[in-house]
Every structure is written in structure tokens, then in C-alpha cells.
């Protein structure tokens, strides 16, 4: 049973800390163009325009005032805490800011407007919508080709925020042909800081499902991503990995497109990186690939994923452990030949360790590994699994506070018994389960509130543990008594 990434679309938890950032606000002070004598903060003190004054200036004709007001707006929006995005939107100045993007006569005005719009678009979906409805998309795309690098960089950033908002805007950008000018910015000469921004925006263009990005767009982006994956900067690599992880998070056809680029060995290499921000997305990408077909999974195995997973299963970060175990569970859902590779690559010892003392989320995934393994493995492979000591930690996990996991474990135990029956070792397994305190736990689960859990536990007890002599479980009588021996003949056809 291969399990895709998203099972429940409702989340109770905090947004995941390990996810890539969806939108970013520009609050940096890296502008050499501004008068070098003035620090940003002091500049704030100097230009103190009220909101009314801003509206007036922006809507006026004086370029200098327009610039001052736009700059003031941008500064308000770049405040560290709680930028008043709503208030700015309510001023109704967005259309004017969009107009300023086209003011080739004043590079400074173009830049300030792009920055202000970037920060507005970095807010909620509501905020992004205001920017899009202000007509910013075509204007920002034109700016990609600006002769001024800092302007095109700011445009890249703004577009990234828009692309990350939702599939609808992402595809609107693609329809406006954002990709060719964006890709044109990538060259060996591009400064690293700029390249990071481009990579991030590219990753947002790959992001989100329902629907996933158009195939031809993906095919245009992929070669550049592959190039970026070989860059030396960690942020560039990380965001490229995120992009690939989005592209593989979908149906098998999409996985196939990525697999065919031959990038898997590089991703596996990156999975092994010491750098957490690279491991996370690389592992996700590979994890997605092995949700695909047996053949696609085989490609990942051939790329060496099984050699790297032991280290990741033992990683100090719980989320990596969990993701690695999830990946392994999907490989274990494959045919027995792939299960054999799991064994020969030495995955069983770290799996048992993880079951025994991993983080809870990782333990849950590890349980799935064992469940899939026992479903698809041969009797010999299952025997090997039991020999590796999986039973004790597995039985201990019957105490977890999660009904689904308990049920999966009980199903796994039934699988183990089926294998034991084939080997004529039922009795031995019964003793082993009892010895490891599993019997007590299974018996106790007969009182579980969840019906399916209770039935599964009851089933195991009745089938394998009831009665100590040879008590037979005899079934009840069938239909009414046909006691007088007689029967009507009919035509038979088997």
C-alpha cells in the first residue's frame, strides 16, 4: 500500500516549521543606491509623511513627490512588526504603484514601487489579490528585462510572492509568459544573492497542486533546475530541491517527467548532505518519487537511496526520521525483489532502532514500513524481519495513543501469524508474543473503545491464543433442520 503525502487536508497543528517559506517580505537594508550618508532608520525619521499626504503625492504629477511618497509607503511596509498592509491597500494607491512600474524615466520610482508591491503581496491571499487586481502581473514581468539589475531582482521577488499564493495566480503568471525572461536571468555570471531570489521564485512556480503547473512550463523549468541543483550555494540548492519536491508531489506521470531527467542520483547525493536545509527537500523529493510505480521506485533504489536511508533513519531531527521512514514504507510496499534490497542494504537494524526509540511521528511511519513489509514480503523475508528483533518494539507500540497505528500493528501481527502458519511455527510465535508482553497488551485491547481495534484484537486472541489444550472453536448450526433425508434433483452445471 503506497501512501501519498497528503491524507488529511485539515490540520490541527501549527503550520509546519520545516516547510519552505511561501511568501517573503523584503525588509532588508541592502540599498547602496540610497544616499549612503543616511542610515535607514534616520531616513524614516526624516521623511514623515502622513497617509493623506502619501495619497496626495502618489496621485499628483510631481515625480519627486511620487518617489518620496512611494518610498515612504515602502518604508512603512518594511517595518519589522505588523506592517499596516490593509491600511495601505485601503488608500487605493495600488493602481498608481503599478503605473510607476512602467516609469522607465525614473528607475528609483520603478524600484520603490516594485518593492512596495512585493511587500503588499507578501501578506495574506487577500493582500496578494489586491496586487494582482491592480494589474501588476504584466508590469512586473516587463521589469524582469529591466537594464537595472536591482529592479529586475525586485520584480522577481514580487512575482515569487504572487506565484506562491495559489495555483490560479501561478498559472496566470505562466500564461503571461513569465518563464522565458525569468530563465534568461540565470547565467554563470548572476550574483549569488540574485540567483537565490530567482531560484525561490522558480520553486513557487512549481509549487501547489490542484491543478499542478502546466506540463510545458515544467519542461521549460526543469533543465534550469538541474543546473541550479549543481550550484555550490546552499540556499540555491535547497530551493531547487524544494522545486523538484513539488514537481514530484503528484501523479505518476509527473514523477516520470522528473525521473527522466536523470536527476535522481544527484538528489540522493543531496539527501546525504550534512546541511539540514538541503536534506529536508531532497528527502521529500525522493520520498515523493517512491510513491510512484514500481519502476520509478526502482530508479530511486538504483540511484542509491537505500544506502543513504539508514543514516537518515538515525538523524537527530525527528522530522527527518519521520520523512525517511515514510519513504522506506513506500519502498516496502513494492514487490518482494525491492523488499529484498531493503534487507540486503541493511535497513532492518535502523528500522528496529527507530521503532524502539524514535520520535512518535517517526515510529508511526516505521510501523507502516513493517506493515507493508509483512504484506508484500515472502515468508523468508518476514522471517528475516522477525529475526532482526522487530517484534519487541512493535508490540510495545500497542500502547500508543493512536487508534490507527494500533490497528496497523494488529494487522501486521496477523500477517506475521500467517507467515508463521506457513512455516509451521504458529506455536513458537505465540510464545514469543507472550514472552514479549504482547499477549497482555492484545488482551487489553479487547476493551478498546474503537470497534475495529477491538475486533482485530479479539480476532487474534480467538485465533491464536484461546484455550490451552486443543480446544476447538466450533461454529454454530446453519439453517433449519432438513432432518428427513430427501432432496429434489436439479440440473447440475459446475
Amino acid at each position: 500500500l503506497r501512501r501519498h503525502r497528503v491524507e488529511v487536508s485539515v490540520e490541527l497543528r501549527k503550520a509546519k516549521k520545516d516547510e519552505q517559506i511561501l511568501k517573503r517580505r523584503n525588509i532588508s537594508i541592502h540599498l547602496k543606491e540610497e544616499s549612503p550618508s543616511l542610515g535607514q532608520d534616520r531616513a524614516d525619521e526624516i521623511i514623515q509623511l502622513s497617509l493623506e499626504e502619501i495619497v496626495q503625492a502618489v496621485n499628483g504629477d510631481d515625480t519627486q513627490l511620487q518617489l518620496l511618497a512611494t518610498q515612504a509607503t515602502r518604508r512603512i511596509l518594511s517595518r519589522h512588526k505588523d506592517p499596516p498592509i490593509n491600511q495601505i491597500i485601503e488608500l487605493g494607491i495600488i493602481p498608481r504603484l503599478v503605473e510607476f512600474l512602467g516609469r522607465a524615466d525614473s528607475a528609483a520610482l520603478q524600484f520603490e514601487a516594485a518593492w512596495a508591491l512585493t511587500n503588499i503581496a507578501s501578506g495574506t491571499s487577500e493582500h496578494t489579490r489586491a496586487v494582482v487586481q491592480g494589474g501588476a502581473i504584466p508590469a512586473l514581468i516587463s521589469l524582469l528585462s529591466s537594464p537595472h539589475m536591482h529592479i529586475s531582482e525586485q520584480a522577481v521577488w514580487a512575482l515569487g510572492n504572487i506565484a506562491g499564493d495559489c495555483p490560479l495566480y501561478r498559472d496566470a503568471l505562466i500564461a503571461h509568459d513569465v518563464i522565458p525572461p525569468l530563465l534568461a536571468l540565470v547565467s554563470p555570471a548572476t550574483p549569488v544573492g540574485f540567483l537565490r531570489n530567482i531560484t525561490w521564485t522558480l520553486s513557487n512556480l512549481c509549487r501547489n497542486k490542484n491543478p499542478c503547473p502546466p506540463l510545458d512550463a515544467v519542461q521549460k523549468i526543469l533543465p534550469v533546475l538541474i543546473f541550479l541543483l549543481r550550484h555550490e550555494d546552499r540556499d540555491v540548492i535547497s530551493d531547487s530541491c524544494w522545486a523538484v519536491s513539488y514537481l514530484t508531489d503528484g501523479c505518476n506521470d509527473r514523477i516520470q517527467v522528473v525521473v527522466e531527467t536523470g536527476i535522481l542520483p544527484r538528489l540522493v547525493e543531496l539527501m546525504d548532505s550534512p546541511d539540514f536545509i538541503i536534506v529536508t527537500p531532497a528527502l521529500r523529493a525522493i520520498g515523493n518519487v517512491v510513491t510512484g510505480t514500481d519502476q520509478q521506485t526502482q530508479e530511486a533504489i538504483d540511484a542509491g537511496v537505500l544506502a543513504v536511508l539508514p543514516r537518515l533513519l538515525r538523524h537527530s531531527k525527528p522530522v527527518i526520521q519521520k520523512e525517511a521512514a515514510w519513504t522506506l514504507s513506500n519502498i516496502a510496499a513494492g514487490p518482494y525483489q525491492q523488499i529484498q534490497q531493503i534487507i540486503s542494504c541493511g535497513l532492518l537494524p535502523p528500522l528496529v532502532e527507530l521503532l524502539d526509540r524514535g520520535d512518535f511521528k517517526a515510529q508511526k511511519e516505521a510501523v507502516w514500513v513493517v506493515a507493508n513489509f509483512t504484506t508484500g514480503g515472502t515468508v523468508d523475508q518476514v522471517l528475516e524481519l522477525v529475526r532482526s528483533g522487530v517484534l519487541k518494539p512493535l508490540l510495545n507500540l500497542l500502547l500508543v495513543k493512536d487508534s490507527k497505528t494500533i490497528l496497523v500493528i494488529l494487522d501486521t501481527i496477523s500477517n506475521l501469524f500467517l507467515a508463521a502458519e506457513k512455516l509451521g511455527q504458529t506455536e513458537k510465535l505465540c510464545l514469543l508474543v507472550e514472552e514479549l508482553d504482547g499477549l497482555d497488551k492484545i488482551e487489553d485491547l479487547q476493551n478498546h473503545e474503537n470497534d475495529m481495534v477491538y475486533k482485530a484484537a479479539l480476532n487474534i486472541i480467538e485465533k491464536y491464543f484461546s484455550g490451552e489444550e486443543n480446544t476447538d472453536l466450533e461454529p454454530q448450526t446453519g439453517q433449519d433442520g432438513l432432518y428427513d433425508f430427501s432432496v429434489e434433483k436439479q440440473d447440475f452445471n459446475f
Partner: protein
């Protein structure tokens, strides 16, 4: 029904009548209420009554009736009519919450239950205002109201603890969290503040603490599925307060009751659960708080007394520590030698002590004590929790922990030695400590299977266990005696055999102890020792080694059954059975006395069978007596019949249902002991065995089939001559069984015996009917089990009546039937047959079809000859096909209404495996080769040409092997 005073009056009358003890008044009233409950306004009338009736009993009665009405009718089942009209539903939902909150507690509980039943169906979609309505009441400041709300919320939300994750469930939880989490947190803080302002007001505190318990429970439910964002953000508030509540004490909340847990204990228990939940599931986020909780819980344990009311709290708290100390990243919290010592000293040792309550149970409630101590149904006890903590600590600190405890054990033993009669409990604790330290893994069957190597078990046994058991006074220090016996029992695989042999007379001696626990343990220990296996799978302790003790063992075992409280002691009876089985012919001299005692026991318990295990072993012991004696002297069967038939007759006449299956099995055993013609006493019973009423009881079927088989084996010709009119009835039983998927195999057992033993002419007229019946089942509801049995039967038939007879009878039922069965059933399914004898029957039968059935050679059936031969070779050479179609996997389980105790198979009444073709054919492969040889001699060239043109190469190779082995060749 209108909402009128008249109707209220009528309803009041009827409700009153439902409380009447006289069923003649009560039943019609209940019937009446049921008949009107479908009417509109009925539930509203009940609500009116429970609010406004003048009489309190009517209020309560109305509330109970209302709740049951909701339970039965609220759910709307698909394709069934809606049983409550929409306007009533709306009115109920609009009124029930305020009504519940303003009612006295007795009624509040009923309404609260009703709300949760309604909530289960309607909440949240069809009852959106419920949450806001509840949350608004938090501000009321009235804790009677608030607790009502909290209780209702608890019953609505507690299912989050066990349901599977799903979009629907999580959407609901999210909705609840959005509306409920913040007000609950505020209420929690406010309640805690109120607790300190009312710190001196006992009655206020009670109400407030009830709220806190409910709040803590709600916390558990809301946090169960995943860690909600809100609670992660507010962890500081919750955990800081939980932590300080754990350390809180207030004299006003302490209760005098020693048994029942008070509010303070309940609250702290729940907080331990909450902390354990976080520690297990949200370790990453909870880590900063965990050390504080470890310290607080540990202090709690150190300061909590021995009273029973603290048991749940203490065992929860210890389990929390046990689960944390096993985690590698918390190892450091425990590894300091001082910490370990103080956990051992202050937490583990005190909770292993034998308490007054244990002593009471030991003396007055022995059965319960034994069940807990011996069978491990002690999950929630302090001792068990302390043991788990020892095991948990041993994961990382086995050496230091063993060292610390060795010191304790020694000092406790010294205390004991100073003054045994006062300090015997110290020794008890010492033994318990050694046991829990040494045992790493355990099973009922083998005792301890993995022991701590740092503990010298034999030395402890010789120095501290044996001396107690050697003491001349068996009734002194019964608890220590029981401990010692238990030690032998569980460490039987660790203690060397010579020590076990030395212990046997001591155990036999303790069968005489007055204490029920002591003589029960002695019996159980002997029984376990007798099942131990040595080399070659023989018993470890041999009959020869037991020879000096036979008489005293049997005497003491039977005497133990006369001790007060042990007249139906299953452990003793099991030990009797096991002793017989071990001692075999050396019990023969004692049989006359033994069988008298067993029969008397049987007579006594058959008046009122209440101990199924005892009874089972009683019958097993009877079977063993018969077997062992008759093996040496077959003539003795008569004396057993004489001794037993009187009791059996009584059991059958009084229809003692529990015992009837056993009686049939013992009778089968007795009947099979007869070498000559069946005695007339058995024949007189024969017609009665065919009575439908007996066959309606599931538990009777296997032993009755077994008994009828014994009749057929020993008395087929007598039945044919003297009871021919009963043959249709016999076949009727077969038909009854074959009609059921569950019992068809039993029907086949019976049929096989009929075909094998009855003279052919006596069943001639029924044969065609039999096959029609089987074909019918095959056509209408075939299962793998049926097909397997069917294949064995037709081949047995073929062996008995010949292949030609089989073909003729098939084709007389329907033209070309024989070919169809070969092609559709035998050839494709024969691989599924399992069991050595069964396979052999099929092999011989098929060989006959191949070689002794002319139509196979010269009609259209000839085309099936090679496929049939190939299938036969497959049966010989291929692994058994054990695949079962998916839809069949659960037949047995779903058809079983639960554990059937009605039939308990007696191991020692077992039937010997019977091989009907044993004498005829020894090696079925050689038999095939010889038969083929014969056939090829009769029609030279044909066989060879068929083989060479169509048999596949592999099969041919096997066949050549058979021919070589048989030293024949084909012509």
C-alpha cells in the same frame, strides 16, 4: 398528541405504572408508551414532565424514559422512516441545554447523556449553536451550570480519543477548538484562581475541583489526535498550572475513605495521563517541561501513602516514569547514582510491599488473589507498575539497579531473620524484588524464559526458598510459603533439575496446607513441573523418578479437594490430570479408589456445574483412568461402564447441557475399547442419539458425530440388521450437517464412516440421494472446505465401491456428469486436499479411476485421462495449494457468535487417526505404477502412446521414477 394537561396527566399515570413491581401492571404500561412514542409532541411532553411534574419520581422517570427514547429513535437510518418529526427535533435541541443545566443532578445526568447521543448524530452540522450555547455558560459564574456544560462537552469530545483520523473528524475538532479552546483555557485559569481565593471553603473547593478534573479530561480529548496550534501556543499556561496542581495539597480535600479515590487523586491521575500523552506524542514540543514533571511526579510518589485510594494515581505515576526512563534522551535524568538509589528506595521498594489489603485478599478472597498474582491480571496494580519501572530502568542501568537492590534484598532478609514472625513481610518484599529484577521475559507455558544474569537464582533458591518449604509446619507464614512455591514455578527453567527433584516432596507436602493460596500454588507448581520437557522431547521428570511419591501425591491431591474452599479447585484437578498422564501404569493399583472419588465428584458437580475448567479436567482425568487401565487390561472396560453409566444416565436425563458433550466423548472412548460386537446397552441408546433436539445444540455436534462413528465402526452390521429403520434418520443427521457451511465437514465424517462400514446393500437405496444432495451443495454454495471434504469422500467411495460404480452412479443422475465432475472439480481442485491420510485416499481413488474404469479408455472421457494423471502427479509432487478465495476468509469468524464453551474437546478422549486404505496400499506412488502396469498389460500400447503424446515432460519424469521404484515397465 397535543401538548395538553390531559395528555400530561395520562402520561404521568402510565409512567407511574412502569415503576410498578407487578409485571401485570408494568408491562402493559411499557407497551402503551412504546405504542405512542411515534406521535408528535411525545418527547416534548416528557420534557415538560421532567421539568414541571409535582412528583420527583415522575421527573426522574420521565428523564430516563426520555433518554431511552432518544437512544432508540434519534438516529436516522438510511431507507428507514424518520422516527421523530422535524419540529420535535428542533424543539428538543432548542430547549435541552438550558433544561439540563437548570435540573438537579440526577436529571442533569440523563439529559447530558441524551445531549451526547443527539450530538453524536447532529453535531456540528445540524446543531451549530450548541457550542456557542455551551461556551456562553462559562461566563455564568455558576459552577453547577459550568460543570453541567463540562460534563456534556466531555461526553461529546471523548470519542476523539479512539476514533481514526479523518477529514470529517478533524474538521469537527478544528471547529470545536476554534470555539472552545480559548474559553476553556480562560475557565481553567479562572478556576485555579478561585481555588486559591476559596482555599478555606471545603464545599466550594469540591465543586471547583470537579471542574478541574473535567477540564483536565477535556484537555486530554482535545489534544489526543494531534497537538493543536492553540495548545502549542498556550502550553506554558497549561503545563505550568498542571505542574503546580500536581504539587498541591489541601487538607480540606483529603478524604477519610481509604478505598475510594478523592477529587485530588482523580485530578492528579488525569494530569499524569496528560503529561504521559504529551511525553509520548509531542516529545519535541514537550521536552522543556518534561524534567519538571518527572521531578514532580517522583515527589508525588514519595509522599503518597499506601492506601488503596491512591492506587490508580500511584500506578499511573509510576507508569509515567517507566515510559520516560526508557527513552535514550532522558537517560540523563535518571543516571545519577543518588537518583537511582532514591527511586529504588522511595518509589519501587515501598510499592512492592505486601499491604494490608493484599493480606486480606490472600486470606478472604483467594480466588481473586490467585488470578491477579498468577495469571497476570494485575495490569493496574502498584506492584505491577513497580515491576515495569524496574524493567524500564534495567534497560540502561541493569548493573547499578541490580547492585542497589541486592543491598536492599540483603538488609530485608536480615530484618526477617531477626524476628521472622514480626518481619515476615520483609522477606516477602525481598522475594518479590528478586523476582521482578530477575525476570526479563515470561510465558505461562514455560515460566521465566529470559533472566537477568546478574542475579544468582539457584543460590537464592537454595539459601532462602528451600529452607522455608522444608519447615515442618506447612501452615506457618502462608504468604512466604506461597512466595516460595511461586518462585519454583516461575524459575523452573533456571533452577537445575536436581533442585527441582528435591522440591517435589516439599510441594506434595504443601498440598495439605490450609491456606487456599498455598495448596493451590503447590498443585499448580507440580502440574507445571510435570509438563516440562527434557531431551528428546520426553518429560523432564520421569515416571521412574516419581515412583517413590505416587501414593502420597495421589492421596494429597485428592485430600486437597476436600479442604475448605477447594472442592472445585481447577488447579488441583489439572494437577491430578497431569499426574495421571505422567505416571501412566503406576497409577493402576490406585484406580479403584480414584475412579470412585472422581465419579462422586462428577455426581456432585453435575447438580450445578459452575467451574468449567475444573469440570474439563475432571473429565480428562476420567478418560486417562480409562485409557491407562484398559491399555493394560481391556477387560476392565466393563467395570468403568458400571461405575460411570449411572452418573451419565442422570446427566442425560437431567439434560445437564455443559456435560453432555463430555459424556459423549467418554462413551466413544469406552465403546472403542470393546473388541467384540457392540454391547446391547449401547444399541438401546442408538435411536436417542438421532434426536433432532440434540443436534440443534452446536456443542453436541462434534462429540455426537464422534460417537456415531464409534457405533458405525463397532456395530455397523448390528445397525443394518437390528436397526435398519433408523438408517434414514442417520442419513437425516448427515443432511442436516451438510446443509451448514460450518458443520459440513462433520457431515462428511459421518458419511465416510457410513460408506466405509455399513454393508453395501443396507445403503443401496439411498446412494443416489446422497450424491444429489452433495451436488446440490456444490452447485449452490461451495466453499473450499466443502470441496476438500467432497473430494476425499468421492475417492473413498471409489476405493470402497470401485471406479466403475462411481462413474455409473454419476451418469445415472445426469448424463456426462462424471466427466463434468472430473473436469470442473477433481482435476482443478485436487491440489487443495490436505492431510496425509486424505491425500492418500485421493491418490488411491484417482488411480482406480485411471486404471479400473473402462469408460476412461474408450469414451469421450478419454480426453480427461492425461489431465487426471497429471493432477495426480501434481498431488504427489507439488506443494499443497492453500489459497482461499478472498470472500471466504472470514466465514468461520463471522459465523461464530463468540467463544463457544459448549464443546470442549477432551485431549485424552482423542480418536486415533484412522487410515481406511492403510492395509490396501502402503505407498500410493508405487500403487499407481503397478496399476498402470496392469492396465498397459490389458491394452498394450495405448497407455504408452497417450503418455508420450500428451503428458508434460516433468510429470513424465516423475512417473518414470515411480515405475522404476516399483520395478515395472509399461507395455
Amino acid at each position: 398528541m397535543e401538548l395538553s394537561d390531559a395528555n400530561l396527566q395520562t402520561l404521568t399515570e402510565y409512567l407511574k405504572k412502569t415503576l410498578d413491581p407487578d409485571p401485570a401492571i408494568r408491562r402493559p404500561a411499557e407497551k402503551f408508551l412504546e405504542s405512542v412514542e411515534g406521535s408528535q409532541n411525545y418527547p416534548l411532553l416528557l420534557l415538560t414532565l421532567l421539568e414541571k411534574s409535582q412528583e420527583n419520581v415522575i421527573k426522574v422517570c420521565a428523564s430516563v424514559t426520555f433518554k431511552n427514547y432518544i437512544k432508540r429513535n434519534w438516529r436516522i437510518v438510511e431507507d428507514e422512516p424518520n422516527k421523530i418529526c422535524e419540529s420535535d427535533r428542533i424543539a428538543i435541541k432548542a430547549n435541552i441545554v438550558p433544561l439540563m443545566l437548570s435540573s438537579p443532578e440526577q436529571i442533569q445526568k440523563q439529559l447530558s447523556d441524551a445531549i451526547s447521543i443527539i450530538g453524536r448524530e447532529d453535531f456540528p452540522q445540524k446543531w451549530p449553536e450548541l457550542l456557542t450555547e455551551m461556551v456562553n455558560r462559562f461566563q455564568s459564574g455558576d459552577f453547577h451550570v459550568i460543570n453541567g456544560v463540562l460534563r456534556t462537552a466531555h461526553s461529546l469530545f471523548k470519542r476523539y480519543r479512539h476514533e481514526f483520523k479523518s477529514n470529517e473528524l478533524w474538521t469537527e475538532i478544528k471547529l470545536v477548538l476554534d470555539a472552545f479552546a480559548l474559553p476553556l483555557t480562560n475557565l481553567f485559569k479562572a478556576t485555579i484562581e478561585l481555588c486559591s481565593t476559596h482555599a478555606n471553603d471545603a464545599s466550594a473547593l469540591k465543586v471547583l475541583f470537579s471542574s478541574l478534573i473535567l477540564i483536565a479530561k477535556l484537555f486530554y480529548s482535545l489534544n489526543f489526535q494531534d497537538l493543536p496550534e492553540f495548545f502549542e501556543d498556550n502550553m506554558e499556561t497549561w503545563m505550568t498550572n498542571f505542574h503546580s496542581l500536581l504539587t498541591l495539597d489541601n487538607k480540606l480535600l483529603q478524604t477519610d475513605d481509604e478505598e475510594e479515590a478523592g477529587l485530588l487523586e482523580l485530578l492528579k491521575s488525569q494530569i499524569c495521563d496528560n503529561a504521559a500523552l504529551y511525553a509520548q506524542k509531542y516529545d519535541e514540543e514537550f521536552q522543556p517541561y518534561l524534567p519538571r514533571f518527572v521531578t514532580a511526579i517522583w515527589n508525588l510518589l514519595v509522599t503518597t501513602g499506601q492506601e488503596v485510594k491512591y492506587d490508580l494515581l500511584v500506578s499511573n505515576a509510576i507508569q509515567f516514569l517507566a515510559s520516560v526512563c526508557e527513552r535514550p534522551h532522558y537517560k540523563h535524568l535518571f543516571e545519577d547514582q543518588n537518583t537511582l538509589t532514591s527511586i529504588c528506595e522511595k518509589v519501587i521498594v515501598p510499592n512492592m510491599e505486601f499491604r494490608a489489603a493484599d493480606e486480606e485478599a490472600f486470606e478472604d478472597n483467594s480466588e481473586e488473589y490467585i488470578r491477579r498474582d498468577l495469571e497476570g491480571s494485575d495490569i493496574d496494580t502498584r506492584r505491577r507498575a513497580a515491576c515495569d519501572l524496574v524493567r524500564g530502568l534495567c534497560k540502561f542501568f541493569e548493573g547499578p539497579v541490580t547492585g542497589i537492590f541486592s543491598g536492599y534484598v540483603n538488609s530485608m532478609l536480615q530484618e526477617y531473620a531477626k524476628n521472622p514472625s514480626v518481619n515476615w513481610k520483609h522477606k516477602d518484599a525481598a522475594i518479590y524484588l528478586v523476582t521482578s529484577l530477575a525476570s526479563k521475559a515470561q510465558t505461562q507455558k514455560h515460566g521465566i524464559t529470559q533472566a537477568n544474569e546478574l542475579v544468582n537464582l539457584t543460590e537464592f533458591f537454595v539459601n532462602h526458598i528451600q529452607p522455608d518449604l522444608k519447615s515442618a509446619t506447612v501452615n506457618e507464614f502462608p504468604v512466604l510459603k506461597a512466595d516460595g512455591i511461586k518462585y519454583i514455578m516461575i524459575f523452573r527453567n533456571q533452577v537445575p533439575k536436581e533442585q527441582l527433584l528435591l522440591s517435589i516432596p516439599l510441594l506434595i507436602n504443601h498440598l495439605q496446607a490450609e491456606s487456599i493460596v498455598v495448596h493451590t500454588y503447590a498443585a499448580h507448581a507440580l502440574e507445571r513441573l510435570f509438563t516440562m520437557r527434557g531431551t528428546n522431547n520426553a518429560t523432564l521428570i520421569t515416571a521412574a523418578e516419581m515412583a517413590p511419591f505416587v501414593e502420597v501425591l495421589l492421596t494429597n491431591l485428592f485430600k486437597a479437594l476436600t479442604l475448605p474452599g477447594s472442592s472445585e479447585n481447577e488447579y488441583i484437578m489439572k494437577a491430578i490430570m497431569r499426574s495421571f498422564s505422567l505416571l501412566q501404569e503406576s497409577i493402576i493399583p490406585y484406580i479403584p479408589s480414584v475412579i470412585t472419588q472422581l465419579t462422586q465428584k462428577l455426581l456432585a458437580v453435575s447438580k450445578n456445574p459452575s467451574k468449567p475448567h475444573f469440570n474439563h479436567y475432571l473429565f480428562e482425568s476420567i478418560c486417562l483412568s480409562i485409557r491407562i487401565t484398559c491399555k493394560a487390561n481391556p477387560e476392565a472396560v466393563g467395570s468403568f461402564e458400571e461405575a460411570l453409566f449411572l452418573v451419565f444416565t442422570e446427566i442425560l436425563q437431567n439434560d445437564v447441557q455443559e456435560f453432555i458433550p463430555y459424556v459423549f466423548q467418554v462413551m466413544s472412548l469406552l465403546l472403542e475399547m470393546h473388541k467384540n460386537e457392540i454391547p446391547s446397552s449401547y444399541m438401546a441408546l442408538f435411536p436417542h442419539l438421532l434426536q433432532p433436539v440434540l443436534w440443534e445444540r452446536t456443542g453436541n455436534i462434534p462429540p455426537l458425530v464422534r460417537l456415531l462413528q464409534a457405533y458405525l465402526e463397532r456395530g455397523a452390521s448390528t445397525i443394518a440388521s437390528a436397526a435398519a429403520d433408523k438408517i434414514p434418520g442417520l442419513l437425516g443427521v448427515f443432511q442436516k450437517l451438510i446443509a451448514s457451511k460450518a458443520n459440513d465437514h462433520q457431515g462428511f465424517y459421518l458419511l465416510n464412516s457410513i460408506i466405509e462400514h455399513m454393508p453395501p446393500e443396507s445403503v443401496d437405496q439411498y446412494r443416489k440421494q446422497i450424491f444429489i444432495l452433495l451436488f446440490q451443495r456444490l452447485q449452490n454454495s461451495k466453499t473450499t472446505k466443502f470441496i476438500k471434504s467432497f473430494l476425499v469422500f468421492i475417492n473413498l467411495y471409489c476405493v470402497r465401491y470401485g471406479a466403475l460404480a462411481l462413474q455409473e452412479i454419476f451418469d445415472s443422475i445426469q448424463p456426462k456428469m462424471f466427466g463434468m465432475v472430473l473436469e470442473k472439480i477433481i482435476i482443478p481442485e485436487i491440489q487443495k486436499v490436505s492431510g496425509q491420510v486424505e491425500k492418500k485416499i485421493c491418490a488411491v481413488g484417482i488411480t482406480k479411476i485411471l486404471t479400473e474404469c473402462p469408460p476412461m479408455m474408450d469414451t469421450e472421457y478419454t480426453k480427461l485421462w492425461i489431465p487426471l494423471l497429471q493432477a495426480l502427479i501434481g498431488l504427489f509432487e507439488l506443494p499443497e495449494d492453500d489459497t482461499i478465495p478472498d470472500e471466504e476468509h472470514f466465514i468461520d469468524i463471522e459465523d461464530t457468535p463468540g467463544y463457544q464453551t459448549a464443546f470442549s474437546q477432551l485431549a485424552f478422549a482423542g480418536r486415533k487417526e484412522h487410515d481406511p486404505v492403510g492395509q490396501m496400499v502402503n505407498n500410493p506412488r508405487i500403487h499407481l505404477a503397478q496399476s498402470l502396469h496392469k492396465l498397459s498389460t490389458a491394452c498394450p500400447g495405448r497407455v504408452l502412446s497417450m503418455l508420450s503424446t500428451s503428458l508434460n515432460a516433468e510429470a513424465l519424469q516423475y512417473l518414470q521414477g515411480y515405475l522404476q521404484a516399483a520395478s515395472v515397465s509399461l507395455l
